[in-house]
Subunit: 147 residues, 2 copies
DNA sequence: TATTGTTATACTCTATAACTATA
DNA sequence: TATAGTTATAGAGTATAACAATA
């Protein structure tokens, strides 16, 4: 009988909470979570489909559909690779970049509010441990830092 | 230029990692994440549909479909409430209980391994902070502790 | 009338398998 | 042959709106 949640239960519940906040911000911007993630991943630089597959951990056909829907919304565009005739690169459009930026800013605000119930030093400790876990497991940059 | 991830980015990436591990364990048991969550929520006691709606943060029609699929697999059963002729209670079957227990145990192991790269005292600190955030936000028990 | 739950419908997300085009 | 990407198909998950039954 744990006086306090174990690590596993704490992680699952924390994940549930973060997902809820993330999904809510997505909805406010007319995005679904996978769509938002795609925009975030492509924010820094255009990426090949074959590169996005391992990053987003999707099958290539799933990615095709996701990019289709996001492209139809006008937020990304497919560009043929000049080096490899088979390859396709996905890049943000201007409106996609604006959306990605406001989404990122608002999601960051909400998540910061979420942990604001704790003193700043506890937040810092928490962030550094989370960072350590993430680094240890080569988690892709599915959410960009403010630049 | 952050020397280290901000809290928000760390949380999103940590969530991505936990989801990956959780989803993988689900697959190994023939479950989807929402199905596993339903089993976990119903583990402690039978629950009404109307009670599961806020707990799982789904619309009632979404819950109807989820319970349909899990019931078809033979893991839960619907029971009419004796007190209220409109109400339906969802409870685990025997095989559902076995599945929920092995799922919970394995997911716990995997998540513990995930953080085992850190010294035990750091894990403990991390767990207690996660617990604090979760408590502050009334996150439902979507994952049970070992009993 | 209000609440509980289901049905109808539409769309997103995902995977597997088969296919096309290029390397 | 191998790789990059799409298409076809099927099923899960979700929401909105309309509905039936009970309170």
């Amino acid at each position: 009988m744990p006086e306090e949640l174990g690590v596993a239960a704490g992680l699952v519940r924390l994940t549930f909470l973060v997902q809820s906040v993330y999904a809510e911000v997505c909805r406010e911007h007319g995005l679904t979570p996978p769509q938002a993630q795609l925009l975030c991943v492509v924010t820094d630089a255009p990426r090949r489909m074959s590169d996005l597959v391992p990053t987003m951990r999707l099958e290539k056909s799933s990615l095709t559909g996701l990019v289709d829907r996001v492209e139809r919304k006008g937020w990304v565009r497919r560009v043929a690779s000049p080096e490899d005739g088979r390859a396709v690169t996905v890049e943000l459009t201007a409106s996609g970049r604006r959306l990605a930026e406001t989404f990122r800013a608002q999601a960051t605000d909400r998540l910061n509010e979420m942990v604001a119930c704790m003193p700043p030093d506890v937040c810092t400790t928490f962030a550094s441990i989370a960072d350590r876990i993430v680094s240890e497991h080569a988690v892709p940059a599915v959410f960009p830092d403010a630049s």
